[in-house]
Symmetry: C2
């Protein structure tokens, strides 16, 4: 059908499979725990975290770029969060298209409550599994992969 497909070597397979399995289990468990303990999804968490870090009031697109999401994803997310009272939207006077996203008091309260819980789960599930040296190595590897991805289109 085509030229030989170049399968992965067993070592490459092992690395990929291990990484995938680990990442799925880790992320899955973390999100379930965070959600169970704080009534906030990871998406809620990151949006509120970045938003409050920046003072609790930000232009929609700035927030979107900050967390590196697609705008439609953020739009849906903000709509859901607004419905639950975590954020508000406000028209931008300078730009008729624009909108500000604002953390409500309830939103600030929610994230302040969730943050330590979140950190604690990250610690227990991930940090505690590894030495600082391993963490550094993983950081280096992650950045290598990221840099590699950014060199390619898409």
């Amino acid at each position: 059908m085509n030229a030989t497909p170049r399968w992965l070597t067993p070592e490459q397979q092992a690395a990929w499979d291990g990484f995938i399995r680990m990442q799925e289990k880790l992320i899955g468990r973390l999100s379930r725990r965070v959600q169970a303990d704080s009534r906030m999804s990871p998406a809620d968490y990151i949006v509120l975290a970045k938003l409050t870090e920046a003072g609790g009031r930000m232009r929609f697109m700035d927030l979107t770029k900050l967390v590196e999401w697609e705008k439609s994803r953020m739009s849906h997310q903000v709509a859901r969060m607004a419905k639950r009272g975590l954020v508000d939207k406000e028209d931008c006077p300078d730009d008729g298209r624009g909108a500000f996203i604002i953390a409500t008091p309830a939103g600030r309260e929610a994230i302040e409550e969730a943050a330590p819980v979140h950190v604690e789960h990250v610690r227990r599930l991930f940090i505690d599994a590894l030495t600082q040296e391993e963490l550094d190595t993983l950081a280096r590897i992650s950045n290598r992969v990221l840099a590699h991805l950014e060199k390619q289109p898409d």
Copy 2:
């Protein structure tokens, strides 16, 4: 409210953030590419791959355990795949509750076409970014985290 929250050290933060960013971008890009190039989602891919590896006919629960999913996830997934003609369901004569999942010819064809594409994307996005030594290291780290997770409840 509670005892001091024990935030992460900057090095720990860096490792966690880097890992998360990497993992999101990598998985996101991989699934978009696989989907675009083969009309199959990663979920379709893994289910069909495991199913055909096992001969193309398996008990529902065996398949579910093999890919380490929840049964309801598999049930939904299989239903969708059946609707698209990738698999069939068949009652189990020995156990009135049970079902066999069967890869259809179309399903076998689809995975045979998708597999090299999948491998190639994994290679380009991930394998090519790292040396074999780094891959080995990552595998070791992944297994450490996995082992750590399996020691904890949930």
